[in-house]
Subunit: 183 residues, 2 copies
DNA sequence: ACCTGAACACCGTTCAAGT
DNA sequence: ACCTGAACACCGTTCAAGT
């Protein structure tokens, strides 16, 4: 039941955001009453924090697997931008944490901490990939570049979603490559 | 009164989003009853569409003024990134339309149209600025580059907001320049 | 022209009660 | 251990009524 709630909750947040996440709708989706959802997740903040934590865990596992498959930075980056593209393909959804970033002011502190952890995990992975491309590069410069790449990809996803135009995502990513922002 | 509602509504959406926009809170802020807000804006969608339209109008007027002041692309881009930076400085707020893009699935069609218009207006202005830097460049390449710059800036704002870290915005923008993404 | 109170079906949260 | 119904103060929307 807990897993069913997490699955339904993730889909809802990626499509409609934290504020649109409803205990009543969620309960209907999994076939229990809204008061019962509070048994598994006492507050909406607990649920959202669990969603973000699981999202980061799943993402970290997948990214680790990528680097275990190949140490080619171009290939790894291509797989990385595909992750964010898939969310758009999948019913114009957004990165769960990107969505929560927009709604940050409405999030309890425990959820904000998970938002921070997701970004830190992604940046650490991007630094590893960038290091493969430029092993001699300055550590701080790579960290800034990793942050910029993450921000640029999240932004491309946000704009493509706002315009309901998947091609806009592809064009933005292509322009990033042309400019030399990412491998 | 209409203007007071638009001002209060803009601040709320930039801080909390469309879903958190409440007729009752808005009414309290301007000193009327919630039912009276519906006299000025029949539905929440009408209010949101008016907010986005006004936001685009104000932005267009400011950007036009920039180009009337100087035709230096580096100076114009520096002023442009400052706009998005100011939103963060101002209580960690976000671009009103970037916020709405995240919440797109919850927006009525009339609001989505205004979201589209805002992006089109920004891209058109960026193409003009890029043309000043590279007058001989391919039209389509400039349009893609303009889209990429807009997306990258929106993303930098989103990530900086999510991390509650203004310096992250500055680092991302600096990295965009180092990579050669923007003038 | 502009505002109001009351009603409606929603929301998260709490709690005593069920199995 | 897990679920429920009922209550509370919220939400957008509608409408008849006021000035």
């Amino acid at each position: 039941m807990r897993e069913a709630l997490l699955a339904a909750g993730r889909a809802t947040v990626q499509a409609h955001g934290y504020n649109a996440l409803s205990f009543r709708n969620l309960a209907d989706e999994v076939g229990i009453k809204s008061a019962s959802v509070h048994y598994h997740f006492p507050t909406k903040g607990d649920l959202a924090a669990a969603l973000a934590r699981r999202y980061t865990e799943d993402g970290a596992a997948y990214l680790q697997q990528l680097l275990a498959t190949s140490l080619d930075p171009v290939w790894c980056m291509a797989r990385y931008v595909e992750i964010y593209r898939e969310a758009l393909v999948n019913d114009n959804r957004m990165c769960l944490v990107g969505m929560m970033s927009a709604e940050l002011d409405d999030l309890p502190t425990e959820v904000r901490q998970e938002v921070e952890k997701f970004f830190a995990m992604n940046i650490a992975w991007l630094v590893r990939v960038l290091t493969l491309a430029r092993p001699d590069a300055d550590e701080k410069a790579l960290a800034d570049r990793a942050l910029a790449i993450l921000a640029a990809i999240e932004g491309a996803q946000l704009i493509a979603r706002g315009r309901q135009d998947l091609a806009a995502y592809d064009r933005a990513i292509a322009a990033y490559r042309v400019a030399g922002l990412m491998p």
